[in-house]
């Protein structure tokens, strides 16, 4: 690529400083907003994943179940699709565990005349079945078996959380799309205005033998430079905001619960490249209209 293409592109940017600054700010803001959604989803997805890893169901048995029933149940549950293990927890074991968990308050349990806890199975799922939908399906299947009192899975609220996140995701994607279109429009418009300011010059260049490609190249450089720079500024803005917020989190108790981190290098590169692509497309649209004549 020849140097004078860059020279011309830089000249164009300097000659239309205000316009280009406004465009740059718009691109940066769009990238910032869209990428902050991405950052949010990335972290919530990860969070959900770690929560789901521990997903398990507790199956409480009716008091009337005898040893043979228990063996049958264990066999039947373990044969269900998606179940990796069904471990029997006797009521005695459950009480002992409870005492350990209660620690100093365990003396409260001393006064009990009989063990109020039921027998139970702890059901763990195969990794590929660790989803909300699967555990819901399995609990229904287990509940249908004989001698079952009820099935509980503590992560029930994850399902609710997931549907809230999904709403956010939808809104986020819609807004991302909107910003994308708006940015595209603004870049295309900027290029168009520069094109009009250079109309006479372009006509003369044509007359002395310039090809369309020769005329277009600086505009593409300009569009991609705006896009790339906007992408970098947007990413930098996001990082600063992220740094600020995660600092606050670290000072609070939720630090371990919410181990949030920044976008991966690939995603950062993706955002900058995507924003350059928008610059390119914006140019393409305007040039196509303009150079038709």
């Amino acid at each position: 690529m020849k140097l004078f293409f860059f020279k011309r592109a830089i000249q164009d940017i300097l000659n239309n400083r205000f316009l280009n600054t406004v465009t740059l700010i718009t691109i940066s803001l769009s990238v910032l907003i869209v990428s902050s959604f991405a950052l949010f989803f990335n972290n919530t997805n990860e969070l959900l994943d770690t929560w789901k890893k521990g997903i398990r169901a507790l199956v409480y048995l009716n008091p009337d179940a005898d040893d043979a029933n228990r063996l049958d149940l264990k066999y039947n549950i373990q044969n269900l699709e998606g179940v990796s293990e069904a471990r029997f927890i006797s009521r005695k074991e459950a009480l002992a565990q409870m005492k350990v968990q209660m620690g100093r308050q365990a003396s409260l349990l001393e006064g009990l005349e009989s063990n109020p806890l039921p027998d139970a199975f702890e059901v763990r799922l195969k990794p590929e079945s660790q989803t909300i939908a699967e555990i819901e399906r399995l609990s229904k299947a287990i509940e249908a078996l004989p001698h079952i009192d009820k099935v509980e899975y503590g992560q029930q609220w994850i399902g609710k959380f997931t549907s809230i996140i999904n709403v956010f995701k939808f809104v986020g994607s819609a807004m991302g799309g909107l910003f994308l279109v708006a940015t595209l429009f603004i870049v295309a418009n900027t290029v168009r205005l520069v094109l009009y300011s250079r109309q006479e010059e372009i006509a003369i260049m044509r007359l002395v033998g310039a090809t369309d490609r020769f005329i277009k190249t600086p505009f593409y450089i300009q569009g991609m430079a705006l896009g790339g720079l906007g992408g970098i500024i947007g990413m930098a803005g996001l990082y600063i905001a992220f740094h600020f917020i995660s600092e606050k989190f670290h000072n609070s108790l939720s630090a371990e619960l919410l181990d949030i981190h920044f976008l991966s290098l690939e995603m950062i590169a993706g955002f900058v490249a995507g924003s350059m692509l928008i610059g390119w497309i914006g140019c393409y649209v305007s040039l196509k209209q303009f150079l038709k004549a």
């Binding site: 020849k2 140097l3 004078f4 000659n15 006479e200 010059e201 003369i204 260049m205 044509r206 007359l207 002395v208 033998g209 310039a210 090809t211 369309d212 020769f214």
Partner: protein, 223 residues
């Protein structure tokens, strides 16, 4: 000379109309390779219009034009630059880019042809020296006198060493000395093999010249 084989530019019954007005009327003409041809005629005769048709600045209304055996009607938009690179055009209104320096205006021609920076520098400097504008390299066209602009326009037309020079009133804004210098430059380029077509209404230019003279009047060829 075998006329038909050596004709570089051929016009067959060419018409150009602006609305109902005939700017050119049934022009048939052969211009030969390495010819120095004058296109004479009063203001409004259609000289500039004829040149415009040759460089595809305007489309003709009727007839055919061949340049170097290429029918201009068949030259697509994409291939227009190829045709124009065979031509060095001195426009009557100069058509210099006001926001570019003298140097950049002339260098542009070579840049579009993908020449190296070093070559461009050497060539542009030498051409600007020839037309006497080497010390105005960094000036912008609006800051030049009409004659100075014309010299730059001439420099831009010849810098690419085109096969064909189309010169529309190339000395119209020049004093006698400068005009002679520019004319000698055109004669020089002709001597190196180029075909030169000069449109002018300046009778003194034509009477001194040795080349063929054709006369246009009210859009018609009269001699």
């Amino acid at each position: 000379m075998k006329p038909h084989e050596d004709a570089l530019i051929r016009l067959f019954h060419v018409y150009k109309r602006y609305g109902a007005y005939n700017a050119l009327f049934d022009i048939s003409l052969d211009i030969f390779r390495n010819e120095f041809l004058f296109l004479a005629g009063p203001s409004g005769a259609g000289k500039s219009t004829l040149l415009k048709l040759l460089y595809l600045g305007e489309a003709l209304s009727e007839g055919q034009i061949l340049i170097d055996r290429v029918n201009l009607a068949r030259v697509s938009r994409r291939r227009t630059p190829e045709l124009r690179r065979k031509l060095g055009i001195i426009f009557q209104d100069f058509k210099l880019i006001p926001t570019k320096t003298v140097y950049e205006n002339v260098a542009l021609v070579l840049e579009t042809r993908g020449m190296s920076r070093k070559f461009i520098q050497k060539k542009v400097n030498s051409v600007l020296r020839t037309v006497g504008m080497e010390d105005r390299q960094k000036s912008f066209p609006p800051g030049l006198s009409g004659g100075e602009q014309q010299k730059v326009a001439v420099a831009r037309a010849v810098v690419g060493e085109p096969k064909i020079i189309l010169a529309d009133e190339p000395t119209g804004s020049l004093d006698a000395d400068s005009a002679e210098a520019i004319f000698n430059l055109l004669i020089n380029i002709h001597a190196r093999g180029a075909t030169v077509l000069v449109a002018t209404h300046a009778k003194e230019l034509i009477s001194n010249a040795k080349g063929r003279v054709i006369q246009l009047k009210e859009g018609k060829l009269i001699a």
